[in-house]
């Protein structure tokens, strides 16, 4: 073996973690800046010359934000809308993906094509149309409108991921279950769903994050301050009239934490989900 190969083998146990630290910091540094900004008074955030560390430390920001009723209302909206739209997507996408993967029927390809096309429609491009629809339905400023929009625009991705999964499971497995006396729905629930769990996890997480972070539609539809989700609401911490950068960033960190925890919990499934679903 050549000399560089041997030295690499020796240095590898500590070299890789060091590179890992650098990679991790490359992705975290803006959010570390944000964390530092949450721990200093707002005036200190916007002072020239800038300083990386707070000149004055302020520890009360998170308490202020969590004690702010507006913030709690936005948090409630975000949770409600994200959970509800994710639930709808899963309930609606599973039968559609299963049927297109398992059955042959007239219109199957047409349906899959429509799904593919809607993947390219963004709520941002359609926001004028979305507003007009919900205006005519008298649903502007309701949670329902936001939930339906988030569900509908994330449906395509979920169907595609799950379609890939259901297609990859051998049909014999299902037939065996049916021979053992499972009905079609029992088969779906007891055999297929456990096998598609990584795909379900992937679809769930994608929908949840997209709904949690959706901005333009919520900005347009939700007029009541208390009904806004976090993404829209927290912007009122820094406006032309009041500038509470510390609170904006404190609230932002609180908004990020649940998503990162969700990710950390399901990360291993997520990788499997992307493999089988979108990468054959």
């Amino acid at each position: 073996m050549s000399a560089p190969a041997i030295s690499w083998r020796r240095s590898r146990p500590w070299a890789l973690p060091v590179v890992g630290l650098a990679v991790g910091l490359a992705f975290l540094w803006p959010y570390l800046v944000m964390l530092l900004d949450a721990f200093r008074p707002s005036e200190d955030v916007v002072q020239t010359p800038p300083s990386l560390l707070p000149r004055v430390w302020k520890w009360s920001t998170f308490g202020e934000v969590l004690g702010d009723e507006r913030f709690l209302a936005w948090l409630k909206t975000s949770l409600l809308v994200s959970v509800a739209s994710t639930a709808i997507v899963v309930l609606v996408a599973v039968p559609a993906a299963y049927a297109t993967a398992r059955f042959r029927f007239p219109g199957r390809m047409a349906f899959l094509f429509v799904v593919l096309v809607t993947q390219m429609f963004s709520p941002t491009s359609l926001v004028v149309g979305i507003y007009r629809e919900f205006f005519s339905l008298n649903l502007v400023n309701t949670y329902l409108a936001l939930i339906l929009t988030n569900a509908a625009f994330n449906l395509a991705f979920a169907i595609w991921i799950l379609h890939g999964f259901f297609s990859s499971i051998p049909v014999e497995l299902e037939e065996a279950a049916e021979l053992d006396g499972c009905g079609r729905f029992a088969t779906l629930r007891r055999v297929m769903l456990p096998l598609t769990l990584p795909g379900l996890v992937t679809a769930t997480v994608f929908t949840f994050i997209a709904a949690w972070n959706e901005y333009v539609v919520a900005l347009t539809l939700m007029l009541d301050d208390t009904k806004k989700p976090l993404t829209v609401g927290i912007n009122s911490y820094v406006t032309g009239y009041e500038q509470n950068w510390d609170q904006l960033f404190g609230a932002s960190i609180i908004a990020i934490v649940p998503v990162v925890i969700l990710f950390a919990v399901i990360e291993r499934h997520l990788v499997g989900g992307l493999t089988a679903g979108s990468v054959k």
């Binding site: 146990p13 990679v23 992705f27 941002t124 629809e133 912007n235 950068w245 493999t275 990468v279």
Partner: protein
């Protein structure tokens, strides 16, 4: 679009190969009505909340609106003509092309390296994977607002660090300079797109059997040769998925360009998405009709771009393999 289920499908079952597949991988034919039971909820959502707004958008694009958003009557094709005649349209389209191509290309290139690294086995890998996830978990609005501050001429931390290290003597105006704003926005676009892309590649790398690499190593391939001639071709499906998804996301991306560019007047650094939004809510005209027309152009542009991309990369061939 309920007619979609009534339309005859491609005669998949008629081809001998298709029939074999149907018995191996599918459950055979069912009637459209039975299929509708499974598809109805999805169709309802798609028709009710995606296609209906699309139709509303078409109607809005053919109507005239007052500055307060009240419909004043039909406009024929005036809104489309006005959008096409807008002096800034050329700039906006050029910006969009630069924005999408630069962000997607850089994202794919960097994510390939990041993913390769994340599949290595080392102490602390889980923490690095969690860290990579953070820009994806943070909402784009938050990240965009954060970067307006980080880039800031007066109080930005990038300038603070560069000044402290004596690399520059006067602060850099990242967001106010015509030359620097696009690269600055692209950097943020790439930064937030890497996590998703890297994860698709991690999944793709995980799907490559380890024997393939071992065989290549025994045959004496250098690491670079192995990567270039074995890993990269086997990653092709993942690269296609990632590039298509990124094209759609980046093209439709609103908060980064809108927020970082907020202090600049006019449309000189806008993409077609922020251009459309500003037409309705920020421009002097506040014209909902023109904005709707621009929105339709956007839908068509991304549709055509993705279809052309799929055709050029022969997506179908890949699926058949």
């Amino acid at each position: 679009m309920t007619g979609a289920t009534g339309k005859p499908a491609a005669p998949v079952g008629a081809r001998p190969r298709g029939r074999r597949r149907a018995t191996v991988r599918g459950r055979g034919a069912i009637s459209p009505l039975a299929a509708l039971v499974w598809l109805a909820p999805a169709l309802l959502l798609i028709v009710g909340v995606v296609l209906w707004p699309a139709v509303e958008l078409v109607r809005a694009s053919r109507s005239r609106y007052s500055i307060t958003g009240l419909r004043k009557g039909p406009a024929g094709w005036d809104n489309f003509r006005n959008v096409l005649a807008n002096d800034s349209l050329g700039t906006v389209l050029t910006n969009t092309v630069i924005w999408v191509i630069a962000v997607v290309a850089l994202t794919i290139a960097i994510s390939l390296g990041v993913a390769q690294f994340l599949t290595k086995d080392f102490w602390g890998r889980r923490f690095v994977r969690w860290a990579v996830i953070v820009p994806w978990a943070a909402s784009l609005v938050i990240t965009a607002r954060l970067f307006t501050l980080i880039y800031s001429y007066y109080y930005g931390s990038i300038n603070a660090v560069l000044l402290d290290l004596h690399l520059i003597t006067t602060p850099i105006d990242f967001l106010g300079s015509d030359k620097l704003i696009m690269p600055s926005m692209i950097a943020v676009g790439v930064f937030v797109s890497i996590p998703f892309t890297a994860y698709v590649f991690v999944a793709g790398l995980g799907a490559i059997p380890t024997e393939v690499h071992e065989a290549a190593r025994i045959d004496g391939g250098s690491p670079w040769q192995i990567w270039r001639h074995i890993t990269l071709p086997l990653l092709r499906p993942a690269i296609l998925v990632a590039s298509v998804m990124n094209m759609i996301y980046v093209f439709n991306s609103f908060p980064i360009v809108y927020t970082l560019n907020e202090s600049n007047p006019g449309f000189s650094h806008d993409t077609t998405i922020t251009f459309m939004y500003k037409l309705a809510f920020k421009s002097a005209e506040k014209d909902v009709g023109q904005s709707a027309a621009a929105g339709l152009f956007n839908v068509v542009i991304i549709l055509v771009a993705v279809l052309v991309y799929l055709r050029v990369t022969r997506w179908r061939d890949q699926e058949e393999q």
